[in-house]
Symmetry: C2
Subunit: 199 residues, 2 copies
C-alpha cells in the first residue's frame, strides 16, 4: 500500500500541502509518493476550458481570500501571483520523470515558492533551471531530458491514471485506495493511512 | 455584526454543520442567524442545471464517500438518501419566513435528519408537517403560511442576498463580512468571529 500525493503546480491549495506534507508524514513514519499531474485535461473532460476559479468568479474571489487566510494561519508565506493560473507543464514533466528520486520534494517546493511566494513565471525554463540549480542539480541536463517525447508521454500517462482513479481536483491524497481531496484533508489522510497499520 | 449560517436543505455538507453549529456557537457565546437559501438559482446563474455532484460524477462519488467518513468521525448518523438532491423549497420557505424564532434551529435539524438520517422525502408536505408537529408547533398553520406569495417572495429575496454576498455553495458562514465556505470552515469561522471581539 502506498500513500500518494497528487498535485498540480498551478493549484493554489496544493502549495500549502507541498510545503508541509514531508514533515507531517515523517512524524508518522509515512513515506510519500510525490505524483504530479495536470488538471487541464481533467477539467476539459468535464467541459471546462479554464480553472473553475476563473469560470466561476464568486468561487475565485473566495479562494483568494481563503488561501491567504489558510497560509497566514499555517505560517506559510503567500503572495497572490500576478498571473493565474500559470502552466506547470515543464516542472511537472521533470518531477514526474524523476518521481521517487530524493531531490524531487525539495524541487517541487521550490517551484511552488517561485509561483506563490515570489510571483515568478514557472512556465519560463529559466525559472525552473534556477529551482534545479538551487538544489545543486544539473539544470541543463534535467531540462533537456524533461522535454523528450518519453517524458511528455509519461506525464500524459500519469494524468490518465489520475483520471482513472477519479481524481478531479488538487491536491488529492490516496491513502492506499482511500481518496482524500483538498488541503483540508491532508492530516486526515495521513491519520487514515497511519491507522491502517501498514505505514 | 452578525454571524450568519447560510444553508440549503438539499446540501449534504450543510447537514453535519446544522447538527453541530448551535452548541459549538454557544460554547463561544455566539448567537447565530439561521438563514436558508436555494442553491438551484445560483447554480443556474453559472450555467449548471443540476448539482455539481451529478454534473461531475467523479466529484459526486467522492462526496458520498467523504460525507460518510466525516459524519462517522463526528458522531453524526448518516444514511445515503435514496433520492438526491431532494427539494427543500417548502422547508426553506417556512424556516426563512420565521427566521429568528427560537424553534427554527430545531426545525432545521429535524428536516436534515429526515433527509439524511431517515431517508424521508422532504419535498412531501406531510414529512415537513411531522417535523413541525414533533416540536409541538401548529403544522397546518405554518405550512399554509409558508405557501403564501409573501413567504415565497421572501425566500427569493434571501437567495438574491446570498448571491449578492458572493455565496456559491453551502454551508456558508458569514462572520460579519468575512466569508467561510464549507463544513470544514465552521470552527474557523466561529473562532474568527469570537476573536473579532464583538461576539
Amino acid at each position: 500500500m502506498t500513500f500518494t500525493f497528487w498535485f498540480e503546480f498551478a493549484s493554489t491549495y496544493s502549495y500549502p500541502a507541498a510545503m508541509q506534507l514531508e514533515h507531517k508524514a515523517a512524524e508518522r513514519g509515512i513515506e510519500v509518493r510525490w505524483q504530479p499531474f495536470l488538471l487541464g485535461p481533467i477539467f476539459q473532460a468535464q467541459g471546462w476550458n479554464d480553472t473553475p476559479f476563473k469560470l466561476f468568479p464568486a468561487k475565485g474571489r473566495y479562494m483568494w481570500r481563503d488561501i491567504e487566510r489558510v497560509c497566514d494561519r499555517d505560517g506559510i508565506r503567500f503572495r497572490r501571483p500576478s498571473q493565474f493560473p500559470r502552466s506547470g507543464l515543464l516542472a511537472a514533466r521533470i518531477a514526474n520523470w524523476h518521481a521517487g528520486e530524493p531531490w524531487v520534494p525539495a524541487f517541487v517546493r521550490s517551484v511552488y515558492r517561485a509561483n506563490f511566494e515570489h510571483d515568478e513565471e514557472i512556465a519560463d525554463p529559466q525559472v525552473i533551471a534556477n529551482c534545479l540549480a538551487e538544489l545543486k542539480l544539473d539544470a541543463a541536463a534535467l531540462l533537456e531530458e524533461g522535454q523528450r517525447p518519453e517524458a511528455k508521454q509519461a506525464l500524459r500517462d500519469a494524468t490518465a491514471r489520475a483520471e482513472a482513479l477519479g481524481i478531479f481536483g488538487a491536491p488529492f491524497f490516496m491513502a492506499g485506495d482511500e481518496p482524500f481531496w483538498g488541503y483540508d484533508r491532508m492530516e486526515q489522510a495521513l491519520e487514515w493511512y497511519a491507522s491502517s497499520g501498514v505505514a
